[in-house]
Amino acid sequence: MRLLVKTFLQKPELAAVLLLVLLIVLFQVLSNGIFLSAANLRGVLGLLPEMALVAVGVTLLMICGEFDLSVGSVFALMPMSMAVLMAQGWPFLPSVLVGLMLCAAIGFANGWLTIRFAIPSFITTLGMLFMARSLTVVISGGFPPRLDLERIPEHLFVAFVGPGELIRASFLWFLGLALVVSLLLSRTNFGNWVRATGGFLPAANAMGIPTARVKIACFMICSLLAGFAGMIQVLRVGSPLPSMGEGMELAAVAAAVIGGTVLTGGIGSILGGIIGAVLIRVIDNGLVLSRVDSNWFKFAIGALTILAVVGNAWLRKRGRAMKVEG
């Protein structure tokens, strides 16, 4: 028991992995073997990068001790601005770059306002949620522009690739970006500053870490990933909808929390956030395949989030209760 508590304590995402395996087995049985069929996996893995990239950014920011509720709106604003520019004759790449710069600017604004005026990022980014969503609708002019698929390097983003054409190119983008952010957090001095800043801000300040800049950088990375994920979705479906990404901010927080990230900062891992996102996709898809009324989906995610927080709090309490010999 001691060992078990200890292991889970050090790797809180392990519990989520265990649950994931259990659910996969369960859905495989309930769906009479359809769940793990190539056709279904193609669907699940094709959609996963969009949600998971948002979760990666939100997880990083939460570890740094801040929140971003504007990711769902940025998820829509970036591809909308890109599509509008392309509809005006801009080539693909410059449109993407402008879209990403817009994301970076929003992330910067989120961080700067939060720090400069010492307000909770919950509030700053709630404001940004409405503003970015409103901008999205305004620039769409009511008529979402269709993307000219001829001018998009589809093979780079949405084409099916890999063995058995199981994954889309976007999955490789996701893997690459997730790996970069994960290594940034675990293997670099910047990652050490992120954990210190989120773990105990006064100590980070006292040790001379530029905590304001660290936080702003995390806000920017989070916005950039959300915008990039939105772009991938739009390239997949062909047209940006002003309402896309609604509710995504909360799903991303749920993913991070399910994966063991703590709301007060300092504790968590990118891998955990990804596993949380995978769990959410698996539950979504598995319920449909098992012919459960799909309205239970949100119930399941909600229950799982609460369970994860309670479970992690219990583990930490047990961990503290365990005698640590000097």
């Binding site: 293997r187 670099t188 910047f190 001379g208 000097g326």
Partner: protein, 250 residues
């Protein structure tokens, strides 16, 4: 009043006429002091006397509103804790300067991580070196801990203070400031800290030891400075004063 301090021949740190306001609160009202090289100074005074404010200026956390700080006789303007550390001033803060959710090895090097490769100040951590050096640093202060990978949050108050001391010593400070390091420690742990402060002179380190407990100060310091309401009200060598006299002025 501001000139009632003991001048030193070769001070490692001097402060002159320091003033600090916190939005209306006049926390320091013209503090001037010399800290002699390799001397252990006890800084005493009631809560709110301005002790933490004084050391937060010495450690670069706050800038004085008036007055100046001299290190080795040269005026310095410190823009942050890093500037103070670069001058050889290490501080162990009253409200622990450790991150509980990080390992001992990670904590020891916050902001000063050894890197294997770097670009524009960002780089890959040399984790093997961090672990090895933290094991050595902890052994150097005679602390026995299981592993450099243990979370600081799992340590007792005394062990945490030990890690904080190990960190300060590892970076070879010439001045070590300890702000109420014995709060919440057991008698045994407290004695260890007192012994450590006593040993600083032999290691050629100047100590500034803040404490509520006069007995602790008299047990390990060469000199005692008493503060009240933002001013220095007494500055004596330990041999020239007594606990009673210090109590009287406070």
């Amino acid at each position: 009043m501001t000139d009632a301090f003991r001048k030193a021949k070769d001070p490692v740190i001097s402060v002159r006429n320091l003033h600090k306001w916190y939005s209306g609160v006049h926390a320091l009202r013209g503090v001037s002091l010399d800290f002699e090289r390799n001397e252990a100074v006890g800084l005493v005074g009631d809560n709110g006397a301005g002790k933490s404010t004084l050391i937060s200026i010495l450690s670069g956390l706050h800038a004085p509103d008036e007055g100046e700080v001299l290190v080795d006789g040269r005026p310095v303007r410190m823009k942050g804790p890093r500037d103070a550390m670069d001058q050889g001033i290490e501080t162990i803060y009253q409200y622990n300067s450790m991150v509980p959710s990080m390992s001992i090895a990670r904590n020891l090097f916050i902001g000063r991580e050894p890197l294997k490769a770097s670009f524009l100040g960002l780089g890959i951590l040399d984790e093997a070196r961090m672990r090895a050096e933290s094991v050595a640093a902890i052994a150097d202060v005679d602390l026995h801990l299981r592993s450099p990978d243990a979370m600081v949050g799992e340590l007792s108050g005394g062990q945490r203070q030990g890690v904080a001391i190990a960190r300060a010593m590892h970076f070879k400070s010439k001045v070590l400031i300890l702000d109420e390091p014995t709060n919440h420690l057991s008698v045994k742990e407290t004695n260890k800290v007192i012994g450590f402060v006593k040993s600083l002179a032999a290691q050629k380190v100047t100590g500034i030891f803040i404490s509520h407990n006069m007995h602790h100060v008299f047990a390990c310091c060469d000199r005692v400075v008493a503060m009240a309401q933002g001013r220095v009200v007494l500055d004596r060598r330990i041999g020239e004063t007594s606990i009673e006299e210090v109590h009287e002025v406070l």
